[in-house]
């Protein structure tokens, strides 16, 4: 059963529900159900926090090193250099998130533009 298997207005929505929403939502429901049985200071909560932090950090590393879409065209070293610049600006200006994020994205564009000349 593919996305355009049934020619009707409702099928794509059912497909999005079954193939996209349900497989995502089930983990959230399990999370609430699981947390409901635990005390707030339970060791399991601390373990869940550690696993969640490792997973999110893994997602970040993957987004930077193995991106999809337009970012794939930017060389790895430019991506890493821009991360470095963002970190320096972020901590240099007293943990200013806005400056950090936009200086990183700005240096990415500037480096690609001056060195590769897109």
């Amino acid at each position: 059963m593919t996305f355009d298997a049934i020619d009707s207005f409702w099928w794509p929505y059912l497909f999005i529900f079954l193939a996209g929403m349900l497989p995502t939502e089930v983990w959230r429901w399990l999370g609430v159900a699981f947390a409901g049985r635990l005390r707030d200071d339970s060791e399991w909560i601390l373990l869940a926090r550690a696993v969640a932090n490792a997973l999110v950090a893994g997602v970040i590393a993957r987004l930077i090193l193995f991106p999809s879409g337009a970012l794939m065209e930017v060389p790895v070293w430019i991506r890493l250099a821009s991360v470095g610049i963002a970190l320096v600006i972020y901590f240099g200006f007293g943990r200013n998130l806005f400056l950090g994020v936009f200086s990183g994205a700005g240096s990415l564009m500037l480096l690609v533009w001056t060195i590769i000349g897109l």
Binding site: M1, P23, R28, A50
Partner: protein
Amino acid sequence: MTISQSEVADERLSAFIWYRRGMRHLLTTPAIVLYLSFIGFGGFARESGVEIDHALAMTGLIWALPSQVVLIGGVVSGAGLAAIALAVTLASIRLMPMVVALVPELRDKDTPNWQLYVLSHVTAITGWVFAMQNVPKLPRYARVPFFAGFGLTLCFINIGVTAIGYSIAGIVPPLAAAALFFMTPLYFLLTLPSAARLLSDRLALVFGIILGPIFAIYVPGSDLVWTGLVGGLSAYAIGRYKRRVT
């Protein structure tokens, strides 16, 4: 981003006031970075040949960018429902430990379960980092309405942002699109350490950054599961050992 002193007053304020205080954070850096990501998603959906109504439904119903990207990737490749559902399942396992960690921070003694289930839907990385950082500073009774004001509204706004991204796709030059995609991981990278209070949380971040790319090369597909298990378990074990010793 930070919560001002006036927000931590002694008197008990109504839930609606806390809801609106949550909404006030919708023009902060994390929210803006997410809007830019959803501009990117709208463009990606259009380039992939997905209709605009379906792209908007994905944002509202799924509310997790990696899952949405996996779904569209599957649709484009002509994969079947079961295969795509399995891929999306694997891509969203991270949400379970995230919700398990967030619920104890959110709930008050008498918080009804249905509210936690509703809020779990708007728990994705941006909302999670925001909540883990800001919610512990608030009185218990204020946390659910505060996070609801931020999370539910953020999800709703981004349905509109997806439509904007869809409409302007093609106008955005590729280099600008690349910079848009780059902002999301950058924001997570800068902001996560301040949400990680415990030693085990901080170690888990470091392990995840290192292990993520290694597992992505050696066990592509299930790399995130391994990153979470190996990185998270060892960070927890070291944290527990340190707590016992000191």
